[in-house]
């Protein structure tokens, strides 16, 4: 799949944002005053920024509001509804923290759960797609949730618990690769099945259907070199896991380790998410003899 920057930014930032908001809502950090304004603001900015980024992916962003309507069947619609609902539910807690209103934290607990459900809905946009075998597996939501939690943990939790969550996220990421690499073969779609010509013999492309480009070739058939993948995976692990772990374990102070870990995490997450898209093979590639 084409690794569009809008979608990468969307999933990384909104994942981080909702992960962080979940910790804030759950009260695992309870800032007040301008610190609260800043931290809640950061959470909201990441979540909303991610959502806004996603609209750059749209052909007609001015109609984006319509995406709320089909929550009964559409994970994308559910994601939109959940995101807005979560941000609304958490708003009184944020206000209360900032202005010291002392309101109930109950909405925060509910909002925390909703934030994680939002991340789940985001992941399900991809995990539901049978046509993309790499994504169509429970490891996709697991990996998305781990990324959100790890990002939130880096920003919200004390260094050692945070470090633990980051390590778990690293394991989830590696697991998603190991499982993902086998998925296409596991699902078993071939050019023969895609065309039904396996009943005659082994098919291959003779003449291309079109020599010009089209949406399918651009959007769904993105070929990444094997070496490139290996390098990017190492990079992703170094930045998303190793550097945050080192920063959290070794750097002094309260802000510095978080800042370094969060920056490294973002870089690593972008790399991992780029791979998540670029490596995903859509079965339509079978018709073109390209994956």
């Amino acid at each position: 799949m084409y690794p569009a920057s809008s979608v990468i930014v969307f999933t990384v930032l909104s994942g981080l944002g909702f992960g962080f908001l979940a910790f804030l809502g759950a009260g695992l950090v309870t800032p007040s005053g301008w610190t609260a304004f800043f931290l809640w603001g950061l959470g909201y900015a990441l979540a909303v920024g991610g959502l806004l980024a996603s609209t750059f992916h749209l052909g007609n962003p001015q109609r984006a509001w319509r995406a709320m309507s089909q929550w009964r069947t559409s994970w994308l619609s559910r994601e939109g509804v959940m995101a807005i609902a979560t941000l609304l539910v958490l708003a009184p807690v944020a206000l209360s923290d900032w202005l010291g209103l002392g309101w109930s934290r109950l909405p925060g607990m509910v909002g925390a759960v909703m934030a994680l459900v939002t991340v789940l809905t985001t992941s399900m946009i991809y995990a539901q797609l049978k046509a993309v075998p790499r994504w169509n597996h429970w490891v996709t939501p697991a990996m998305f949730l781990c990324f959100a939690l790890a990002g939130g943990a880096i920003l919200a939790l004390p260094r050692w618990p945070a470090l633990g969550v980051v390590v778990v996220m690293g394991l989830a990421l590696v697991l998603s690769w190991l499982i993902g690499d086998r998925r296409f073969a596991e699902v078993g779609q071939t050019m023969g099945k895609a065309t039904g010509l396996d009943r005659i013999g082994t098919p291959s492309v003779f003449d291309p259907a079109h020599t010009a480009g089209n949406y399918l070739l651009h959007e769904m058939i993105h070929i990444v070199g094997r070496k490139h993948v290996a390098r990017l995976r190492i990079l992703a692990l170094i930045f998303a896991v190793l550097l945050p772990v080192l920063a959290l374990a070794l750097l002094p102070g309260a802000v510095l380790p978080r800042a370094v870990a969060a920056t490294a995490y973002l870089i690593g997450a972008f790399a991992a998410r780029w791979l998540f898209f670029a490596q995903a093979e859509h079965v339509v590639g079978l018709y073109y003899g390209k994956r």
Binding site: S204, A209, A212
Partner: protein
């Protein structure tokens, strides 16, 4: 709930029915017009050619009509030729320039003006114009296209494949399609194959390449190129050996029972009586009798005073062991048992499953037949069998095969379309007598019957610039357009002054040896003048050729013009009806362009050509439309057969009708004259058909004839080569003529085989079904389907050299080398490579970007193909790369050597861009962006 879309929108304000021009099929189209703009084009369901369907080209005609490559105004060259530097001029100036060049030539040396047309669909006008001008140098593109298909058919059965006939799709049970390049007659063949598939009839393909129709064939014979004739004669061998031939048919309807003279000055000709009527032995009397005598029953096995029947000659020849499947298998690349199986299938379909229509008819001998029996096996052939130096005889061999099976013009077999069947004798002879200031003595092109009809001067030198109708290629019924520029450049046989071309991309894909031709077009003599001094070119689009002309006459597109698809030319008939059609301007041009035919008539009037001016010297025809309605070739016979006579009720013959075009338009743009049921089959021999053909103006008198298994015209040339007769060939051609002018079909290896040692692979091209020559690339939709081409390599070569996806190969021939992208094709003869034709483009032509894949990666095979025959030596080295009988360009004789060069991103050779005569296309018309 979703809002229901509006589902009953009309497409446009109006449907205008005209004729497609996206290839030579000439299908009927419904052009939906809204506010003067074309909205949608679909097939006309009532039309005889396409019956509603339309191909990829026709259905995207709207992109052709609006292509940015359309020329916009007359152009005059202002820079060096080939630089593409032009200035726009007025039509008046353009016409004055043309007259100033052409008028003095006509008065002094009309032969110095050569007028050749390419994908011309108005040949009855252009030929008539050239005749009136008086130059002997005129032809259309048939010589480089497929004159072998036409001449091989006409010299054998008075009709040919392609649009001149078709299998009896409703009744045939076995359909055998020969030859690569499945382009001609494409919609009718597709419709026909669909009918066969619907009925579950069998389709067999004999073709080195299994694409297109061969891909749906039930059985595929991946023959080695150039050996079709050998395979066919081996099939004839098998059928003869088993006695599976139609004796009754051969005796009644072919010259098989004619007696061949055994000795003397007429040796090899057929016995005649004093009235010149060919003789057969009548079985009733055992005595000679005229072949067409009342009630005569010809005896196939007769001998008379030592003279044997044609049947005896042919049986003896093809029963020879040299034609056994085992003897030909290796050369054909087909195992002997498969050849035998194919022969058995044919015999089975023909003789075990006969079809019969209960319909009485009377033959030309007056014998009444109660039924129409037929043979349910039919054949068709594509250019592949004919674009070889043995193509004429191969085409003849195929007709021999269908004739011995008794399938031609019988139910279930191959059916000809009016004006065919039409024997050689009913065709004109070629004419070439030049008188300055006067018309030529007759039509240029025709069918010679013997050496006396060649277009030669007293000294034996060729009259025509293309050397058509000479000993080098005596039966060149369509001329040799591919030799026009090389001969004019070489001054062989003489130099010309003005080259006048219409719709022929001679500076690119329509020439052999393209790079060399470009040099010839721009070459200057010692005097600093161009060797070919003047070139006038008429076309609708900015093709590669435009840059090489001095004066450009911009044509309209096909929806902006009048045209007639005439029975005087290549008609659109059906086996059950004669048909013709028109084009008319369904939209107005938005540029300063004019239909070429109207321009030609205007030019003719300005030159004072007979037939084009009134007595007072004024123009006789306002425009082409006026000509279509009012021109009479013979009294009462004009370009169109429908709605003739003052009241429009006459068919075939009748006075001009001023409302004729309106009547055609009201009738969907075409007219059909239906053949009576009793005349529908056995047409050459069917009295009812002959009478109908006379009434419909196809013949002036009934012209029954028998099929020509033994060809006297060929024999006359062969006899001359043997030293018989007053007209003698030059010594260097004697041996060739003795061999190739055999009166019975033969096979010989294509020329160049002997020199093919270093070039072991056959190289072919074929036109994709979605492109017409070079036109498709200017079409925004079609070029997305096929914007570049690969050279397809068979598995053997692919694996031997370790080719991989993305690789290029160097392809070498004795004429040069190209470097091109390759792809693997498993369903391909192992000795053969091929590519799609005319996808490669010159940079900046056709209003495409310089970086267009057509110009960077797309390629032509033409650079490898010499216009001269390979392996010649001495001063005879100027023989053309053509069939020695007809002059058909031998494109498919090409041999090459393939070498892997690994991945590249550009093909070679790369030519510099031509200067643009129209701006580069950016946004496609009608596009929302």
């Amino acid at each position: 709930m979703n809002v229901q879309p509006a589902l009953s929108q009309p497409i446009g304000d109006e449907i205008r029915q005209t004729t497609c021009y996206m290839c030579a099929c000439r299908c009927g189209i419904n052009v939906h017009v809204r506010s003067g703009k074309v909205r949608y084009i679909e097939g006309n369901r009532d039309h005889p050619v396409n019956k509603g369907v339309l191909c990829a080209k026709g259905a995207s005609g709207i992109m052709q009509i609006t292509a940015p490559s359309r020329l916009r105004a007359p152009l005059k060259r202002v820079g060096p030729r080939g630089s593409g530097a032009f200035e726009e001029i007025s039509w008046e100036e353009a016409m004055q320039i043309a007259v100033s060049w052409l008028k003095p030539l006509r008065e002094t040396a009309p032969e110095k003006m050569a007028f050749f047309t390419g994908r011309d669909q108005s040949q009855s006008l252009t030929g008539w114009w050239a005749q009136a001008y008086g130059t002997p140098n005129h032809a259309a593109h048939g010589g480089f296209c497929s004159v072998n298909m036409a001449a091989g058919g006409i010299y054998t059965m008075g009709g040919a494949f392609w649009e001149f006939g078709q299998p009896d799709w409703e009744r045939t049970k076995l359909f055998v399609l020969f030859g690569v390049a499945e382009d001609h007659d494409s919609n009718p063949i597709k419709i026909g194959i669909g009918k066969l598939k619907e009925r579950g009839a069998r389709v067999v393909g004999v073709n080195p390449v299994r694409s297109g129709y061969n891909a749906v064939a039930d059985d595929w014979f991946g023959i080695t190129p150039g050996t079709d004739g050998l395979l066919i004669l081996s099939l004839v061998h098998c059928l003869l050996e088993a006695g599976k031939i139609d004796l009754s048919y051969l005796a009644q309807f072919t010259n098989a029972p004619f007696l061949v003279i055994a000795d003397g000055p007429d040796k090899g000709l057929l016995m005649q009586d004093e009235d010149g009527r060919h003789l057969v032995i009548d079985r009733r009397s055992g005595r000679p009798a005229p072949w067409d005598g009342e009630g005569v029953q010809p005896d196939l096995g007769a001998q008379w005073q030592g003279n044997q029947t044609v049947f005896r000659h042919l049986a003896q020849r093809y029963l020879s062991p040299e034609y056994t499947p085992e003897a030909v298998a290796d050369r054909c690349g087909i195992a002997a048992p498969r050849i035998r199986a194919l022969a058995a299938e044919m015999a089975h379909a023909a003789f075990d499953e006969p079809v019969e229509i209960a319909r009485p008819w009377t033959d030309f001998r007056g014998i009444r037949h109660e039924t129409m029996p037929g043979r349910a096996v039919s054949f068709h052939a594509m250019r592949g069998i004919s674009a070889h130096s043995n193509g004429f005889q191969t085409a003849r061999a195929l007709h021999l095969l269908q004739i011995v099976l008794g399938t031609v013009e019988t139910p279930g077999g191959y059916r000809l379309k009016p004006p065919y069947p039409k024997p050689v004798e009913a065709h004109p002879l070629p004419h070439c007598k030049v008188t300055p200031g006067k018309p030529l003595d007759g039509p240029h092109l025709g069918y010679v019957r013997g050496p006396e009809h060649l277009a030669l001067h007293e000294d034996g030198s060729p009259v025509r610039i293309d050397k058509a109708f000479t000993w080098e290629n005596p039966l060149s019924a369509h001329g040799l357009m591919h030799m026009l520029i090389p001969n004019a450049h070489a001054g062989d046989p003489y130099r010309i002054d003005t080259l006048f071309l219409y719709m022929a991309n001679m500076a690119w894909n329509s020439s052999m040896n393209t790079a060399k031709v470009l040099e010839m077009l721009t070459d200057k003599g010692p005097d600093g003048e161009y060797v070919i001094p003047r070139i006038i070119y008429a076309d609708a689009y900015a093709s590669e050729m435009v840059a090489y002309a001095d004066l450009i006459l911009p044509d309209t597109t096909y929806v902006e013009r009048h045209d007639c698809i005439s029975l005087l030319d290549r008609p659109i008939s059906e086996p059950d009806a004669a048909a013709d059609s028109i084009r008319w301007p369904v939209i107005e041009p938005d540029r300063d362009v004019r239909g070429f035919q109207s321009v030609l008539l205007d030019l003719g009037a300005r030159l004072g050509l007979p037939g084009m001016v009134n007595d007072d010297g004024s123009a006789k025809y306002r425009d082409y439309a006026d000509y279509i309605v009012n021109h009479q070739r013979r009294p009462g016979v004009g370009p169109l057969i429908g709605f003739r006579g003052a009241d429009g009720t006459q068919e075939g013959r009748g006075d001009p009708n001023p409302d004729q075009l309106q009547r055609y338009i009201a009738n969907g743009g075409f007219y059909q004259a239906h053949i009576p049921d009793e005349a529908a089959f056995y047409k050459p021999w069917n009295r009812a058909y002959q009478d109908w053909a006379v009434a419909t103006s196809i013949f002036d008198k009934p012209s029954p004839y028998v099929f020509t298994l033994w060809s006297e015209p060929l024999r006359r040339f062969q006899a001359a080569a043997e030293g018989i007769g007053p007209h003698q060939p030059p010594e260097h051609l004697r041996a060739q003529l003795r061999q190739v002018m055999d009166p019975l079909p033969i096979w010989y290896a294509p020329y160049g085989e002997a020199d093919a040692a270093g070039y072991p692979v056959h190289a072919l091209t074929q036109r994709p079904m979605d492109m017409y020559h070079s036109w498709g690339s200017q079409n925004a939709w079609l070029r997305q389907i096929r914007g570049m081409n690969y050279l397809y390599l068979p598995t053997r070569i692919w694996e031997e050299q370790g080719f991989r996806e993305g690789d290029f190969a160097a392809v070498a021939s004795p004429n040069g080398e190209i470097v091109v992208p390759v792809a693997h094709m498993a369903a391909l003869n192992p000795q053969t490579v091929w590519t799609w034709n005319a996808i490669g483009k010159r940079k900046a032509a056709w209003a495409l970007d310089d970086g267009a894949p057509e110009a960077t990666v797309g390629f032509l095979l033409n650079h490898l193909i010499s216009e001269r025959r390979a392996g010649q030596d001495g001063d005879n080295g100027r023989l053309s790369n053509s069939d020695p009988v007809t002059g058909q360009a031998a494109w498919f004789d090409q041999r090459v050597r393939i070498t892997r060069v690994g991945p590249r991103d550009r093909s070679e050779p790369a030519f510099p861009p031509v200067t643009r005569v129209v701006p580069e296309g950016t946004i496609r018309p009608g596009s929302p962006s």
